[in-house]
Subunit: 194 residues, 2 copies
């Protein structure tokens, strides 16, 4: 069990010194400076995580775009005969552009340490953009799934396989961007006013 | 903190006294207390907005659920012969439960002023929940759109009309929840550590 001296000792000892009121103790434990350093480290980690998820999203949407755009095998096996596949292609192009530009902007910011927007506006823009793009990606991917399922029940050839892989890439791009959007939300929640 | 003579004799004072540096001036302009009151008002407005969007989401998902579940007209005109429509029904049920419970919790909190979770955790839970539910809703709605479009090219009857209206309700529920998710993100970003 616990040491009974724990209970008796505090009465003998004079009051422990109260924490200095001047420091901004955000989360309890540690002084103000170690808190600020911890916050910086966390922000750096978040930024790197955001960059990584955007990079993944860029790669996956580029793959979805290339696979879908080259999916023409004549007769009924052309992607542009089906509106679902055209939707997937359009959203893959949009998502490639969006995530590529965001990743470029972030790398540029790392190198020059110069910010185009204020930090708060930037977090807002990232958050809204990620969310809208993620909605578009999951919408396009899940609209194309039933058609591909039906086709593969009848015939299983290079056309249906390519469509399925393009859809899978769109889903992966969605997952990357959904994680990125959660990170942006978390970054929004950790805005400091200092 | 503030000088009590500020309010009573403003004419005698030539220069307005500079704001006391000890107060936490969050956004510039106005004293600390008016800032806090403004923040409270804004938080109240946000909470009401969140409740309203959740209420709309509840109504729309309930409508989608009822319309889709009653969409059985025999032969090929049964919703449970198509996996897309079953998906819409399942997600409509989930979304009805989620938004109903969230709205109930919020109303209960308004009345008792007692909070089940800490405010920060609550904002996180709301944000993640809204986002995941919105993804599911748009996924189900957009997966059912192409099938309905194809059916309506051939025949336009009560079955296709009911499906279309259920899908429209699912889309409306998605829009409400997407707005709610943006509000939750904004609420997250306005967490104060005071």
């Amino acid at each position: 069990m616990t040491n009974p001296n724990d209970e008796s000792k505090p009465e003998n000892v004079t009051q422990p010194p109260p924490p200095p009121p001047a420091t901004v103790d955000l989360e309890g434990g540690g002084g103000a400076i170690s808190n600020i350093i911890r916050r910086w480290k966390r922000e750096d980690l978040l930024n790197r995580g955001c960059l990584a998820t955007r990079g993944f999203c860029f790669v996956f949407s580029l793959l979805a775009f290339i696979i879908m755009a080259s999916n023409k095998h004549g007769d009924w096996k052309d992607f542009d005969k089906y509106e679902e596949y055209k939707y997937v292609l359009a959203i893959a192009i949009l998502s490639t552009l969006y995530s590529g530009l965001q990743a470029l902007r972030q790398v540029h910011q790392f190198h020059t340490a110069r910010e185009l927007f204020t930090r708060r506006n930037l977090a807002m823009i990232e958050f809204f953009g990620d969310q809208v793009m993620a909605y578009l990606l999951i919408s396009s991917a899940s609209s194309a799934v039933p058609l591909t399922n039906r086709m593969r029940e009848g015939a299983d050839n290079i056309f249906t396989d390519s469509s399925a892989s393009a859809i899978a890439m769109a889903f992966f791009a969605f997952f990357s961007l959904a994680i990125s959007s959660l990170i942006s939300g978390y970054k929004l929640s950790n805005q400091s006013y200092i």
